[in-house]
Homo-oligomer: 104 residues x 2
């Protein structure tokens, strides 16, 4: 049993900031922090499993296949297969938590 705090995840004006909260055979939990305008480009991996992207603070868009963009605000959680194209773009400063099960 361990307790982590998202305060450990900082912002970086040069790139999306990544804080690995946890990694195990069961799931990987990552905190990404975006400055307004920063983006995790659409990507996917051809493996089994699903992931969740939870918006903790701020707002932006969930990105998907073919340039799709869906509003993403604090309290929203996207769930998709790891094999589905997914990404995030920040409108304001934005904090998200990504949980990948099982990890790649």
């Amino acid at each position: 049993m361990k307790v982590e705090n998202l305060d450990q995840g900082k912002f970086d004006p040069a790139k999306v900031s990544k804080f690995l909260v946890h990694d195990s055979p069961y799931f990987r939990i990552i905190n990404f922090n975006f400055r307004a305008g920063q983006e995790l480009p659409v990507h996917n991996h051809d493996v089994e499993g699903q992931l969740s992207i939870q918006v903790v603070e701020g707002e932006g868009w969930f990105l998907g296949e073919g340039g799709s963009a869906t509003d993403a605000r604090a309290g929203d959680i996207l769930i998709c297969d790891i094999a589905e194209p997914h990404g995030v773009r920040a409108k304001t400063d934005m904090r998200i938590i990504v949980t990948i099960a099982p990890p790649l």
Copy 2:
């Protein structure tokens, strides 16, 4: 791909409120909302896997073996084996997200 919002999870003065965000062979995501003083009693399950308990709003305590209680505030994430005793008690109104991988 689907997007859920935690606003769907309500508070109930009579008991801890539970909103099933997602369930699949890979992970189960549940939003629990507590009124101040409500509790998810310590429990465990003798199966493989791990879970995370993320505090979205409010504060309280993560409960563990032998009556242990650790401060839990917005931004804190507890990670433990499903087989380890775990629970939550709310000091203020409190919203948490529990992710179980794989589900029981």
